[in-house]
């Protein structure tokens, strides 16, 4: 009881800190200083070392004339599951794609503000998006295995990085971590496209973790799957958070509530309305708009 109260108090504090940062950005601020403030709230709830690994500062994204994100300030803790929820077009996927600079691939997209990964602004000129994406893996909405064998799909990332030592072993490890090994160990040479949708998505997760990234971004990874496949993916995500920082975008609020430690609520217009411990967001959000959204009054 008292712990709950403490949590919500501290969460309120950290939210107001974020708001303060949004209204008056500190030009000289070291991102790590602010991160250390957010850390405490995280520690209370989960008991793990939730050092922020990704932090955005006044992040704005435009697609041509349309603004997709507005002054987003967000610190994502290490080795936890952070969920991004919100209605369609709220910018949650855009935020995700800023983290590994996938928005670079869209000609009309323009990013302003800062996004730090382990203290380094990924939008600095000297950052190589290719190298960045090797440390921040991604899983997409629709399973998109390459039209190659199961083995070659998992080996792909290792091969382009020339990490072909003990390739068989690494492929096996990745498939085991993705809870797919037992289903495919006798058919590694079979085309990945012959797998079911849920298996394909776990293969995509295996492909992403094979190169041992620090962060895994997931863009509605279960939205194209049936409930059983979805529940397998959800179990897997919770396991992955023991070793990786997981950021997941989802349409499904129950899913966010089930699997995430932290939840960020984006609402229409690309505005981050509230970011806090998942329990707090779903039980006692500060914002009326978030409560309306969570309870289904809108969105």
């Amino acid at each position: 009881m008292t712990e709950n109260e403490m949590t919500s108090n501290e969460s309120t504090e950290s939210t107001s800190t974020a708001e303060a940062a949004a209204s008056s950005p500190d030009p000289s601020g070291d991102p790590l200083v602010e991160q250390s403030i957010d850390v405490e709230g995280t520690n209370e709830t989960t008991g793990t070392t939730g050092k922020p690994v990704i932090e955005s500062r006044d992040l704005n994204v435009f697609y041509g004339e349309t603004q997709a994100l507005q002054d987003v300030n967000l610190a994502i803790p290490e080795k936890q599951v952070t969920a991004m929820i919100g209605p369609s077009g709220c910018g949650k996927s855009t935020f995700l794609r800023c983290i590994n600079r996938m928005n670079d691939l869209i000609d009309a997209a323009r990013v302003e503000g800062d996004l730090y990964f382990e203290g380094k602004n990924v939008y600095d000129d000297d950052v190589d998006p290719v190298a960045l994406r090797r440390r921040i893996g991604m899983v997409f909405q629709h399973p998109n295995p390459f039209p190659k064998s199961i083995y070659d799909n998992v080996a792909y990332g290792l091969q382009i990085q020339n990490q072909t030592e003990n390739l068989d072993e690494k492929v096996e490890t990745a498939l085991k971590r993705a809870a797919l090994w037992d289903e495919v160990k006798d058919q590694l040479d079979k085309s990945a496209l012959d797998l079911s949708g849920g298996q394909q998505q776990r293969l995509c997760i295996a492909r992403a973790i094979a190169v041992d990234p620090d962060v895994i971004l997931m863009d509605e990874p279960a939205s194209a799957l049936d409930p059983i496949a979805t529940s397998k993916i959800e179990d897997l995500i919770e396991e992955l958070a023991e070793e990786y920082t997981v950021v997941i975008v989802t349409h499904n609020m129950q899913q966010a509530a089930r699997i995430s430690d932290k939840t960020a609520v984006f609402l229409t217009g690309g505005e981050l309305v509230e970011f806090d411990d998942t329990d707090k967001i779903f039980e006692n959000p500060d914002s009326q708009r978030v409560e309306d959204y969570i309870t289904g009054k809108f969105g």
Binding site: M102, N144, K148, Y156, R207, A208
Partner: protein, 310 residues
């Protein structure tokens, strides 16, 4: 919707509609059947005259003969096949890599503005009459080859094959580009998400995913090269010649007469024996079988390796 305003009577059927529908159906069927009918007739007539030829000339002698001399009624296919083989190989060496590279550029690298300029440009290349390519080979390419020190004859298979290669580039690039454009963007995203560079995504993801379309574009282009006539008639000379296997490179500097060119010559010769005339059909049938098999192969490859994307 309500009983007060009944809609039109749903049981009234205009008389004669069924008959009209039947007529449309048959007219359309006849149009569709015509092309098949014509093809079948051609094959049948080709085969009939070829059989006449083969009753007079032993097929074994025809397919293994190393001399082709109409004036002495000697009909060996191999010299003509040598010419056709050279044209096919040389033009493939030129067209397949170039066409594929052009397709990769158009599909993966070009901006939409660049593409809107280059694609129609390539299609214009496909619209040039082949006789123009032939004259270009004779008048410009051969002198150019001589000027850079290659010992080519006035009529030579190299310059003809270069132009055949250039002629089929648009075919390779256009069909390959279609295949690559059909690769879902989600696969490229997956590649980039793994930290692949653009070149790695192109060569490791897009090209393999489009392999069936690319291979069938190759094969269709090859069968086009095999059937090409005007360029070789104009630029490759009129002497059937056997491949000299001991010095393969020297072959390309000489004139050859591929199967198609030989058929033109027989057909337009002033005096030709009855046997010579029927040899036309034997060569034609052989040519048809080769290109038919290639097209069949192309379809098989396309069907076998086609990946299903939603």
């Amino acid at each position: 919707m309500s009983t007060e305003t009944p809609g039109p009577d749903i049981t009234s059927r205009p008389s004669g509609r069924a008959a009209r529908e039947r007529m449309y159906r048959y007219v359309l069927l006849m149009c569709a059947a015509t092309s098949i009918l014509v093809t079948v007739s051609i094959v049948v007539l080709l085969a009939r005259d070829a059989i006449t030829f083969f009753t007079l000339v032993n097929p074994v002698n025809f397919f293994t003969g190393t001399e082709f001399l109409i004036s002495r009624d000697v009909y060996g296919l191999l010299p003509l096949l040598s010419g056709t083989l050279l044209v096919t190989v040389i033009s493939a060496v030129i067209a397949l890599p170039t066409g594929l590279a052009a397709a990769v550029y158009l599909s993966e690298y070009a901006s939409s503005r660049m593409r809107s300029v280059l694609k129609p440009g390539l299609e214009i290349l496909a619209g040039i009459p082949t006789v123009v390519y032939g004259i270009f080979a004779l008048v410009y390419v051969t002198p150019f080859l001589q000027s850079i020190g290659l010992p080519v004859n006035t009529f030579n298979i190299l310059s003809a094959s270069i132009m055949v290669g250039i002629m089929i580039i648009p075919m390779v690039s256009s069909l390959s580009e279609d295949a690559m454009s059909a690769v879902p963007d989600s696969l490229r995203q997956a590649g980039y998400g793994m930290g692949a560079t653009k070149f790695e995504v192109t060569t490791g993801v897009v090209v393999p995913a489009a392999a069936s379309g690319i291979f069938s574009s190759f094969i269709l282009a090859l069968s086009r090269a095999i059937g090409e006539t005007m360029i070789v008639v104009v630029a490759a000379g009129s002497r059937p010649r056997m491949l000299n296997l001991s010095d393969p490179l020297a072959n390309i500097y000489q004139g050859y007469q591929p199967m198609t060119a030989a058929m033109v010559q027989i057909n337009s010769a002033d005096t030709v024996s009855q046997l010579g005339f029927t040899s036309l059909f034997a060569i034609g049938l052989t040519l048809f079988v080769i290109t038919f098999l290639l097209n069949l192969l192309s379809n098989r490859i396309a069907a076998r390796y086609r990946e299903e994307y939603e």
